[in-house]
């Protein structure tokens, strides 16, 4: 059969290297590159990104140098030590424990869980949405009913109940429990876009080209909604920081000996702490606010950049 093509085309194996080189010179940058260059142009967003990445690296590495059990020991000498002193530069809590050190370890734990939760729940939500949207019919119907059921469950309550049932939980089990309940938003978004994409002819073309369903879903359709996925993951990450910290704040997240931004804010539950010893909880609250704002800001700019690349893609 190859001869058939040889016969009717002037291109032969000898030209291959030359033509490839020519084509490479004319190659168009990929969408990811376009998004990235759009993003780079936004200086505040770049600054926010650097702050986020730098901060995460700082707490991840800093926490390695802190001996957590020792830090969590009660130290009567430091009882509600004032902040901005050489020994306790963010003060100490009712147990004389350094707020600054707790903040570093707590950030590591809370951010780690948020990252884990984002990775697991987004992956699951994306797969769910893609499959449900692509296979119209009974599969979609069944998956939608499961989705409806999950939406009905009172999320926070269910998580708290599960946390009390599981005897020895740690940050990994906690992340998994959260993941059960936090994939719906992503899956809904992805499903609606997948439904629209599946209608397009390129999906039919792939099917007549002999590509199997899974390859079509993940190699053909998914790249077309990749900008949506990136933006959604970023925004979910900002949201997920609130999930663990919220539960820990109520006292059902990480165990009390494992510091978390949430347990630190829970210090505010004591009317004395909230006004008199504000340094025990306010830094953690401010940190969450700044972190969430900068992550969502990055997400917003990413969305704008993705839209811009889409516009470039559509223009012809």
């Amino acid at each position: 059969m190859a001869e058939n093509f040889e016969q009717h085309s002037d291109v032969s194996a000898a030209d291959l290297a030359r033509l490839t080189q020519e084509a490479q010179a004319e190659a168009t940058p990929s969408t990811a590159k376009i998004i990235w260059s759009e993003f780079k142009a936004d200086k505040p967003a770049m600054a926010a990104l650097f702050i986020i990445v730098g901060f995460i690296l700082f707490v991840m590495i800093g926490a390695l140098f802190i001996n957590t059990p020792k830090m969590m020991e009660t130290n009567i000498m430091g009882y509600f030590n004032q902040p901005f002193t050489p020994e306790y530069w963010l003060g100490a809590d009712s147990g004389g424990r350094s707020v600054a050190k707790q903040l570093i370890v707590g950030s590591r734990n809370s951010i780690g869980i948020a990252i884990g939760l984002t990775v697991i729940s987004s992956t699951f939500g994306i797969c769910w949405g893609l499959i449900s949207g692509y296979f119209n019919g009974y599969i979609d119907w069944g998956m939608q009913r499961v989705y409806d059921f999950m939406m009905m469950l009172p999320m926070t309550m269910m998580i708290i109940v599960l946390v009390t049932i599981i005897p020895h939980y740690n940050s990994v089990t906690l992340t998994l429990i959260f993941s059960i309940f936090y994939w719906e938003g992503t899956s809904r978004l992805i499903r609606s876009r997948t439904l629209a994409e599946s209608e397009k002819d390129y999906v039919s073309a792939s099917r007549t080209s002999g590509t199997n369903h899974w390859k079509i879903i993940f190699r053909e359709i998914m790249p077309n909604i990749s900008s949506l996925i990136i933006v959604d993951c970023t925004l979910s990450f900002a949201e997920n920081i609130g999930v663990e910290t919220g539960l820990s704040y109520l006292g059902f997240g990480l165990p009390s000996q494992t510091p978390s931004l949430g347990t630190m804010i829970a210090n505010a539950n004591d009317p004395n702490n909230i006004t008199q010893y504000w340094w025990t909880w306010l830094p953690a609250a401010l940190e969450i606010i700044i972190l969430c704002l900068s992550i969502s800001y990055v997400g917003q700019v990413l969305r704008r950049a993705a839209d811009a690349s889409q516009r470039q893609g559509a223009a012809d």
Binding site: R145, M157, M158, I160, G246, N269, W278, L293
Partner: protein, 321 residues
């Protein structure tokens, strides 16, 4: 139309059944039994064994479940082990507080969101729009409980403008109805406002984009060219068209309000169902826990049902499923 509603209603039934089984099994799986230590710390193990037996706690789960369902239909949710009173009475005493707070929050949400959304859409790209967008962006991404804590700190403690605990002040509870209502209202004011500030995002964004879309649409341009004043265009043409879909948000927002009630009531020590749930978890009071999870689940379901019905009235395409 009625068919859609009825069918939607029928789909609910298996969902409620599965929910009840799930809730029941989870409650069974919770550690500890309700008798050990609750009657008398020194109680005889034999006696506890006996109590477990007459309460049917050794039966297979499906028999216990069936018993539970039968009792449920008789309005008997069991006794709270912590408070030693019927769960129905206990919850009835708390439900009012939660529902009033939720209702008040929802009213405030709409009161804030509607003008903001229309205003932002009307002045698209100008300063007021930018301010409103920054506001929605900030309230959207900060976790709710952090807003509550900061709010109670500033307005409750530092300025001392609002009460920080309870649903009614001690002085007001004994006096006349006017003081009672006044005090109750005073107690839900701050949590209501904070909840509303947090809940506006979706409505503002929806309304804003609706208004922007409608501004360019033919029917608005026609009205404009006929000389209808722009105030009337916004009021009669654009706003009225978006009203029903926005009303549909009310149903969906029930889920958010209920979820939020757990945090709000904890922060403000407000004696509603959310706080009751948190306390019951600490005491392993699982008759109360089961009842609350079930109630919250059913309320969620009713909320979604309401929204779906409203939407199916607005948009005939949804009716044919």
């Amino acid at each position: 139309m009625w068919k859609t509603i009825l069918r939607r209603f029928l789909i609910m039934i298996p969902e409620v059944i599965i929910l009840s089984i799930l809730v029941f099994l989870l409650a069974k799986a919770m550690p500890g039994d309700p008798f050990t230590g609750s009657i008398n710390p020194k109680a005889d193990p034999q006696q506890i064994h006996h109590l477990m037996k007459i309460n049917g706690l050794y039966d297979p789960w499906y028999q216990q479940y069936w018993q539970w369902v039968v009792h449920l239909f008789h309005g008997n949710l069991g006794n709270s082990y912590q408070y030693q009173e019927p769960v129905t009475r206990l919850i009835a005493g708390r439900a009012g507080n939660t529902l009033w707070l939720a209702l008040f929050t929802m009213i405030l949400t709409y009161a804030f969101a509607l003008p903001m959304g229309v205003f932002a859409g009307r002045h698209e790209g100008k300063l007021p729009d930018t301010i409103i967008r920054v506001y929605t962006y900030v309230t959207y991404c900060i976790p709710f409980f952090v807003i509550l804590v900061i709010g109670i700190w500033i307005f409750g403690y530092v300025f001392g403008w609002f009460p920080t605990t309870g649903s009614i002040s001690a002085e007001a509870s004994g006096s006349g109805w006017l003081q009672t209502i006044g005090s109750r209202f005073y107690h839900i004011l701050l949590p209501g406002i904070l909840g509303a500030l947090f809940g506006t995002v979706n409505i503002v964004q929806y309304l804003r984009s609706e208004v922007i879309d409608a501004k360019g649409s033919d029917y608005v341009r026609t009205a404009r060219s006929k000389g209808v004043p722009s105030k009337d265009i916004y009021r009669h043409h654009i706003f009225r068209n978006s009203l029903l879909p926005i009303a549909a948000f009310a149903g969906y927002s029930i889920t958010g309000l209920l979820n939020g009630s757990i945090f709000t009531e904890t922060v403000f020590s407000y004696p509603g169902m959310g706080l009751l749930f948190v306390n019951s978890i600490s005491y392993r009071d699982y008759t109360v826990i089961t009842a609350l999870v079930l109630i919250y689940g059913i309320l969620n379901l009713i909320g979604t049902l309401l929204s779906d019905i409203i939407l199916s009235i607005v948009d005939p395409r949804i009716r044919i499923e």
